[in-house]
């Protein structure tokens, strides 16, 4: 890079920064047109750009800034007062300047656009013209976000107090002047010394004066210090390459490890001076680590500062009044996270203004204040950062959402009926969903919210929505502080350590004694554990990792004294992972695995433990897939899964529960099964002409499967009852079967069957003809009104293989 390029580069970065402030200042000025400080700052920004452009010969840039400066001059002199119109024109000027700067950055030349419309508009306003505000041409509305300004660690502050006229920074006071001012040297002495310099004395002024014994040495030093501090904020911060910071971060990580080892050695040594030294090393390392971490942290305000402009422009174009309140701008986040949440946040804010907050008329009609309120709030909580975007608008109508989803064919009527409000709200995150009655150019194209969610989840965050009809909507985003360091649970399996990200962790179970011996049951060979009444599939970590079991270290399952189960969640599915031991929770530094291990889907990376050894980080989803807890295809959530099922084509496989009824076998989609229970025959009671049992403080109506589908020879009422519990719309029905046989996953090739009731047809499963149950039809016999039977749903939804 040549020297001139470097200077231009500096000019660009500085100008982008100044323009960001320029936007903020303009919005502030619009609120308080009398604020002379803010006006001064705006004027300075434009003046500096104009001056520098003249120097580099960017004439178009110069001429645009020149007209803007003229207009600003009138404002400053009180000849004009800021109006919305003037503010808009000046904001557009900022955009135009950014666009031209971006052109310079990309090509080294300013763009071809003269911005004639904008210039005309500025001139008209300057002339105090009364014509209505003509929309400024599109070419000026360059949305050059120009991220160049974001790479610096700290923005170089600009002296706020300088008089508006002082377009440039005040010059650093000269040493001579300072010395005279402080009465340490006379004007003549200084003049003499300066003269000596002119004559060729290369030494600094202070030195000459000292040599001439005009000024005591200490005084010069002190005065030099004064001079240094007068350089002000501009020189107290520097720009640092982010790559360098990453490198520093790595080195600090290494230092931490070395420190850990030394601290360990100290405990073996008796030498107290060594102990003291290592103690100091310990403290310094910790502080250094914190310091380097801090250099990567940036206040969330850096992302937010663009939002007032977004809100203002959008509100204006929608004819709304919106007051944006920001709380917790200082909340700090790792730089990489800041980058990642920029777009999702902007989208959520735009949505809130566009869809959330009502128009002025509407607000007045429902008795709200004319101005809507949009609150952005950020705060730390439990090692995470919470960001809330709350509007006081109309709220989201879950019923309308469902109707819309139904209309678009995203859900079935049955699903809509059983969907609770919370689930319905999740629909807005679905792909291809938008409730905006009209597609605006702002949002409402139905491509936003699913992307928002994906982007937030990609960095390990979550987004949730709460709404109150008529009261407003709040989006709550939770994100980790940093991606590089995550909290994790450390477990061991066959002597090796593994880290499990806490993000996936639900709870820890410890089975002891009798529980350890019999707590884990087998469902046709598949181990399960009854966790609060639900069957939790159990997966052994050592099996999944293919680790040979150390016979001596571990007795057979039946004799184990203690079983540690880590309950994990992957893609909305829960499962229990049996590990040998749970060691610790700690913050781990995530490091990538080499390209040669990209096939190792069981691991998300590796980390270095305190003793310098490596531990692999488990990829919980990978393990769940390997163990077939979740199917190969990554699912997003239960709601979305159902949507996907509707549109999926016939190749999907079904997970089926096989039951025995008399001599026959029957299959039921596992998705229709909420629980499997065993009841003693003596608990059977009668109510309303039906068999019922008391179950979880409710009455569970029972259906005898044999009777329902016309199979005879099923068992009588003595002996325990095997019951498949099915839940519809919050109510449960038990289907009594003779035996629970197996769970299989397979593609269903459905025959029409022989027309018996309660069946969708039959299929060959495990080489046996098996009746495939129409659960909805069966439970509908219990209470036809309550469990309305929609034959279409099950044909299209539950049994895709048909």
């Amino acid at each position: 890079m040549s020297e001139i390029d470097e200077i231009v580069g500096e000019f660009l970065v500085e100008s982008y920064e100044n323009l960001d402030r320029y936007d903020e200042d303009l919005l502030a000025l619009e609120r308080d047109p009398t604020d002379a400080d803010v006006l001064g700052s705006i004027f300075r920004t434009i003046h500096t750009i104009k001056g520098t452009c003249g120097f580099f010969g960017f004439s178009r840039l110069e001429s645009v800034s020149h007209v803007a400066e003229n207009l600003l001059g009138k404002l400053r002199d009180g000849e004009l007062v800021v109006t919305g119109e003037i503010a808009s024109a000046l904001l557009t000027t900022g955009d135009a300047l950014r666009g031209m700067l971006a052109d310079i950055e990309a090509t080294g030349e300013e763009g071809a656009s003269e911005h004639a419309d904008l210039v005309a508009e500025l001139e008209r306003l300057h002339a105090g013209g009364a014509a209505t505000f003509a929309a400024v041409g599109d070419d000026t509305a360059v949305d050059a976000a120009a991220d160049g300004g974001d790479t610096e660690v700290a923005a170089a502050g600009v002296d706020e107090d300088a008089a508006p006229d002082a377009a440039e920074e005040p010059p650093t006071p000269r040493l001579g002047d300072l010395l005279i001012e402080q009465g340490l040297a006379t004007a003549e002495d200084v003049a003499l010394a300066l003269h000596a310099q002119e004559l060729g004395d290369k030494r600094p002024l202070g030195e000459i004066l000292m040599e001439q014994a005009k000024v005591p040495v200490e005084e010069v030093d002190q005065t030099l210090a004064t001079q240094a501090s007068a350089r002000g904020l501009a020189e107290s911060s520097i720009r640092v390459d982010v790559g360098l910071l990453d490198e520093l971060m790595n080195l600090v990580g290494e230092l931490v490890l070395a420190r850990n080892q030394i601290v360990q050695l100290v405990t073996e040594e008796q030498d107290s001076s060594f102990a003291n030294a290592s103690q100091r090393l310990n403290l310094i390392t910790t502080e250094l680590q914190e310091g380097v971490m801090k250099t990567r942290m940036q206040p969330i305000g850096n992302v937010w500062n663009k939002l007032p402009r977004v809100v203002r422009d959008l509100a204006l174009s929608c004819g709304k009044q919106v007051d944006l309140v920001m709380e917790g701008q200082d909340t700090e986040l790792d730089k990489t996270i800041i980058e990642a949440i920029k777009d999702p946040l902007t989208h959520l804010v735009r949505n809130a203004v566009d869809h959330g907050i009502e128009s002025v008329e509407r607000r007045v009609a429902v008795g709200k204040s004319r101005t809507g309120r949009l609150v952005l709030r950020a705060y730390h909580e439990g090692g995470q950062v919470n960001i809330e975007i709350a509007d006081d608008g109309a709220g989201i109508d879950a019923t309308k959402l469902k109707a819309k989803a139904l209309e678009k064919g995203l859900i079935t009527a049955q699903q809509a009926g059983s969907m609770r409000e919370r689930e319905a709200l999740q629909l807005i995150f679905g792909a291809g969903f938008s409730t905006a009655a009209q597609v605006t150019n702002v949002s409402g194209r139905g491509v936003g919210m699913d992307v928002v969610r994906t982007n937030i989840e990609r960095i390990g965050g979550t987004v949730d929505v709460h709404t109150e009809l008529g009261g407003g909507t709040t989006f709550k985003v939770k994100i980790p502080l940093t991606l590089a360091i995550i909290p994790a649970l450390v477990v061991t399996s066959q002597g090796d350590r593994f880290a499990i990200p806490q993000l996936n962790l639900l709870e820890l179970l410890r089975l002891e004694g009798e529980q350890a011996r019999s707590g884990i049951e087998l469902l046709h060979g598949a181990p399960v554990y009854r966790l609060r009444g639900r069957l939790l599939p159990i997966v052994r970590l050592d099996d999944q990792l293919g680790q040979p079991r150390l016979v001596t270290a571990e007795p057979a399952d039946g004799d184990r004294e203690v079983i540690n189960i880590v309950v994990l969640q992957a893609d909305g599915h829960q499962f229990g992972l049996v590990v040998d031991d749970i060691t610790d929770t700690q913050e781990i530094v995530v490091k990538p695995l080499g390209g040669h291990l990209k096939d190792a889907t069981l691991f998300a990376g590796a980390t270095i433990m305190g003793d310098g050894r490596i531990a692999l980080i488990l990829d919980v989803l990978g393990i769940a897939q390997r163990a077939r807890v979740v199917s190969e295809a990554r699912e997003r959530s239960a709601a979305i899964t159902e949507l996907d099922d509707v549109v999926a084509t016939g190749t999907a496989t079904q997970t089926l529960l096989l039951v025995g009824v008399g001599e026959r076998r029957a299959a039921v989609a596992l998705s229709e099964v909420s629980r499997l229970e065993t009841f003693d025959a003596s608990t059977l009671e009668w109510a309303g002409g039906r068999e019922v049992v008391q179950y979880r403080d409710e009455i569970l109506p029972l259906v005898r499967l044999g009777a329902a589908i016309g199979v005879h020879g099923t068992n009588a009422s003595e002996g325990p009852l095997e019951v498949v519990v099915h839940q519809v719309a919050g109510r449960a029905v038990g289907i009594v079967v003779d035996a629970i046989l197996d769970i299989v996953e397979q593609h269903l090739d459905l025959d029409d069957g022989d027309g018996r009731p309660g069946l969708l047809g039959s299929a060959v499963i495990q080489e046996r003809v098996t009746d495939v149950l129409d659960v909805a039809a069966i439970v509908a016999t219990v209470d036809p009104g309550r469990f309305a039977h929609d034959p279409n749903r099950f044909a299209s939804d539950a049994y895709l293989g048909a």
Binding site: L251, K591, L593, G594, H596, L597, L602, A606, R613, I614
Partner: protein, 144 residues
């Protein structure tokens, strides 16, 4: 060929060489963290000053006999397009300078994986120096 300096090492009875500029460093036996379900030639991971480096057992990669029990392996850390990789070898030799004239490509009778991974041999006075194709060596065949 401009770079005639080779870092040499032994595997079983054979002497191999890797161009010096491809070698980042040679280090003592390291603690290895095994990677379950990885390719069989991946012996594990080593912590190279905070960087996680995959260690490949060259004996197994070249389909030689396994290293005798209890015999520790040295690490030859090489630079590759996908980051550093450590080759586990029996013993480190000298850096040797060779004469281009003594180079020959392997005869057709060389079979199997060696044919793929060995670009040729320098005929040294007392032995043959087999030259390893590093980029190919770190390309692991898909696990069976």
């Amino acid at each position: 060929m401009t770079d005639n300096e080779y870092c040499t090492f032994r595997l079983d009875e054979l002497t191999f060489g890797i161009e010096v500029h491809q070698v980042q460093e040679v280090i003592r036996p390291q603690v290895l963290t095994p990677v379950p379900r990885a390719n069989g030639v991946v012996e594990g991971l080593i912590n190279l000053r905070g960087q996680i480096v995959t260690a490949i057992d060259l004996r197994r990669r070249l389909e030689l006999q396994d290293r005798p029990e209890g015999r520790e392996a040295m690490n030859v850390v090489v630079r590759t397009a996908e980051g550093e990789v450590s080759f586990l070898v029996d013993e480190i030799g000298d850096v040797v300078q060779v004469d281009d004239a003594s180079f020959e490509t392997p005869p057709d009778t060389v079979q199997g994986v060696a044919r793929e991974l060995i670009t040729g041999a320098y005929k040294l006075e007392d032995r043959l120096l087999l030259i390893l194709d590093v980029p190919r060596t770190v390309q692991l065949p898909a696990p069976a």
